[in-house]
Amino acid sequence: MKNDVRTLREAAGLSQAALGAALEVSRQTINAIETEKYDPSLPLALRIARYFHTQIEEIFHVD
């Protein structure tokens, strides 16, 4: 699923590992989400949206 996680992360000045630590997931999971190889679960997607103070629909886009 297309997403803007990388854009938001870089705008926040965070590394993948730092974002992963903040969201309690691994750096590999963040990388997999950003490269669109892995779709996060709904709870994780909600945590990502809340972390960046936005809505899920503004981050994740259905193909």
């Binding site: 590394s15 992963g20 997931v25 750096r27 999971t29 190889k37 679960s41 994780l44």
Partner: protein, 143 residues
Amino acid sequence: MSTDTPTVKPGPRSVFWQVTASVVVVAGLATVVAHSGNTAMAAGILTGGALVVVAVLVAARLYRRRRGDVPTGARVLAGPVDERDRRLVGRSWAITGFVVTGGLVVALLAKGMGAQVQEAPAVLLWVALATLVTSFLVLDRRS
């Protein structure tokens, strides 16, 4: 920019359950093989399996202390696991179960046709192990 930091270390309880599960798997494999009559291989599985489990856990622990970025395999063995890790492990086990089930069907059909299948349990165990490890590595690379 924030420095990279590893995720939270696992509690001793999760490590305990992983070690317990590993011991159960090794003992189960040895029991199945022993029941098929191959006691020498069962003894080898117990010895070798226990050594491998201990070696992998020690290596995973040492690896975690040296580097902040923990590989998926090390996290699965020593924790903590996240949702992607759990999904990888679940899919790997599912693929392994599918392959082993297919192998069992083939072995039963062969036995029904009069073939000698005494070595089938041992072969299936190795196939299961190879399938589990290979599927985990491939899925980890692709997702």
